[in-house]
Symmetry: C2
Subunit: 424 residues, 2 copies
């Protein structure tokens, strides 16, 4: 697309133009079979490798600009690409190519009393908007998942990675085109103006779904402003409830892993609930404190270890994404369920217990996208769930929940085969 943004750009018209081109390309993609889509992604991966020099060079300009602008070391690390990281991105595109294609699956197949043959067949959603921040790998990862399921992608990356994203996008588009996929199946918005994001969010009927990938500020803005359906999670306020019948060693290991393996991911535990009948030992909190985690507890939790600081009311609704954990002592399963119902963000909540009946009640009654028994909440991940990859984790109640992979990027239609039926 040749449109250049300037101060007078009408972003609604720009998005409409890109959407029309994307939707036309998607119709071509929708007619391609499994093997052709897989081959196109392999071609895109090859193009990424072929252009690795220019991509790394473009990325170096982004890193230099980011350094000059004073980006944090963590942000610069997320931004930085080298040949090795780029090889990882290309390999990830190939891994998506190797996933099985959900399109064409018969979700149901019935015969109506009228004799009509009814098939619900899985089809692509259409044009998917991806709005993301500084990680340039999202350009390739998200595009690959969209295309694998027959969707066109309209990408809008962060300004920090503008040169990296353009270089990655150009390689992807070239590789796809070489394999017969119109280059417009994957488009990158040509402007960093935030108003263009607003236009994407309001493009109902043109963009079929928006997936935001980034921090809470981005997701919040997208959820608040979108007129297009959004697949996302805002917070990962994940709980682990240690029931009185928990194995003590298992409880400590799971709690330690759920909090401390990686503290910055959305599936990290942010709140620990200790059953009053379990808590007396204090070994679970001891293990966390010894590992360097700051604990903020209610009065009963504080009594377990003098190193536990007092929690404020805010702590029960806080996603720390750091080595900090809120801890409450609860009186039994019902109290734990009540606490989780009040404070969970609906992402992932877990129980550790040896009592199967208690486990089953927890699984049934906790109303989160992912509910776990005797496992670390850090498993909340599409790869760990055997989905191959994920476009994100969703906590909404419609369409797809939990890790969203290829199936979540599809919808269905009803195919009805008759023999001349008219309705009486």
């Amino acid at each position: 697309m040749s449109t250049q943004p300037d101060q007078t750009t009408n972003y609604a018209a720009l998005v409409a133009e890109f959407a029309r081109a994307g939707r036309a390309a998607q119709r071509v993609l929708a007619r391609m079979d499994d093997a052709a889509k897989a081959a196109a992604l392999c071609s895109a991966a090859a193009a990424l490798r072929r252009h690795s020099g220019s991509i790394v060079e473009a990325n170096a300009r982004d890193v230099a600009a980011g350094t000059a602008r004073g980006l944090s070391p963590a942000m610069l690390d997320r931004l930085r690409l080298d040949e090795e990281r780029l090889e990882g991105i290309a390999a990830a595109v190939e891994a998506v190519a190797a996933l099985s294609d959900p399109v064409g699956e018969h979700i149901s197949h019935t015969t109506a009393p009228s004799g009509l043959d009814l098939v619900r067949v899985r089809i692509p959603i259409g044009l998917i908007g991806i709005i993301y921040e500084s990680r340039p790998n999202v350009t390739a990862d998200a595009a690959a998942l969209c295309v694998r399921a027959g969707n066109a992608a309209l990408l809008r990356g962060g300004s920090e990675a503008v040169n990296s994203n353009r270089a990655i996008h150009a390689a992807l588009a070239e590789g796809l085109a070489e394999a017969g996929v119109p280059a417009e199946a994957v488009q990158l918005m040509p402007t960093q103006d935030r108003a263009a994001v607003g236009a994407m969010l309001r493009a109902a009927g043109l963009v079929d779904m928006i997936v935001p990938r980034g921090g809470k500020g981005l997701v919040e803005r997208v959820q608040n402003d979108a007129r297009v359906p959004v697949l996302a999670h805002l917070d990962g306020i994940c709980h682990t409830y240690i029931h009185s019948a928990a194995d003590r060693a298992m409880a400590s290991e799971i709690a330690l892993n759920a909090k401390m393996r990686r503290t910055g991911i959305c599936g990290a535990m942010e709140s620990l609930l200790l059953d009053a009948d379990f808590a007396t030992g204090g070994d679970v909190v001891g293990a966390l404190l010894d590992a360097g985690c700051e604990l903020r507890g209610d009065a009963r939790a504080q009594a377990l270890d003098e190193r536990i600081r007092p929690a404020s009311a805010n702590d029960w609704d806080c996603e720390y994404l750091d080595a900090i954990l809120s801890v409450a002592v609860v009186d039994g399963l019902d109290a734990a369920l009540d606490h989780i119902a009040r404070h969970s963000s609906g992402h992932t909540d877990a129980i550790v217990t040896g009592d199967e009946a208690v486990a089953e009640r927890f699984l049934a009654e906790v109303d989160s996208a992912i509910v776990m028994v005797n496992a670390s909440t850090q498993f909340a991940d599409g790869g760990e769930f055997g989905l191959g990859a994920e476009i994100g984790i969703a906590t909404g109640r419609l369409h797809a929940r939990g890790p969203v992979a290829l199936e979540g990027l599809t919808t269905y239609k009803w195919q009805v085969r008759g023999t001349g039926q008219t309705r009486p």
Copy 2:
């Protein structure tokens, strides 16, 4: 709920209060098994019959008020209840009770490489808002479908039917409560102020989904203003394409049925596409004209019969809901597909053909919720699809498409059973 609306009512707070009560009731409902939910609906049906006298009396007041206000005969007919119609409403609630409960179904069951046991289990969506117009039967129909799948319902009916809706709602709530379902599982908004509808539409996080039931004006307002996901269709601009290889008698019968069986339903054909190689006979248009249908055609269609009036550009995007039909002559399948892609509302589109390859291309490439071969578009209906009943027909691309019944009123969560797994 005892809240009385007045000029100073804060509708956001009112909706929040109702939503909290509804969500609490839904948690009770979610713990009830299949048989208990079915029994509760039978109890609600019994209560409708028990209170039939007071419901019909309340309805008579609505009809009298509507007559005084000059409602059209068609609207008054939609509004009117007698003992026979009320028996039909009660029987419909029992029919929903007899449907099989989708809640608890395992959508998938896998074992992850880590050994985690992963089940995607079907669960209720939560609290569903139903916004509808003059038909008081929707109060019972929609409530029954919501409750059958474990959801609470927040109903907002039209002002014409206010007394009827209150009487039906009171009976339903009484019957449900007698069977152990909290009465708040089905609530009726206590105000006819349109601002209260706005508050429901904006209640993201409190109301999980909105289903509008009514005319285009209502659906358009709901789709434009909602911050809550909406399941709906705006238009039913349904096409029937008569391919050159169509059986002539079948083509006439299907076209006649698709247009004239009932002209006011969303699945009625609104646009007929005649293949140039089929059209020469003009028997299909003759049958429609003879049946009293007004035809508005392009120049080539007009050449088929002098009774065909000229179509304006608007006619190709018009849902007449009347004995009027637009007719175009097209050159082959690709031209038909192009016309449908431009003008279909994504509801239901059909082809009549004896050529199986052409039929399969039509089924694959028409991107509507329902695509039919050799059948009348008037079959677009949950009952006809064997779903038992429908809450509506959806043309959006996410969650549920086409006729939406119990399964569309559910979502899922991931239940993960471990044996102490921590993530490496």
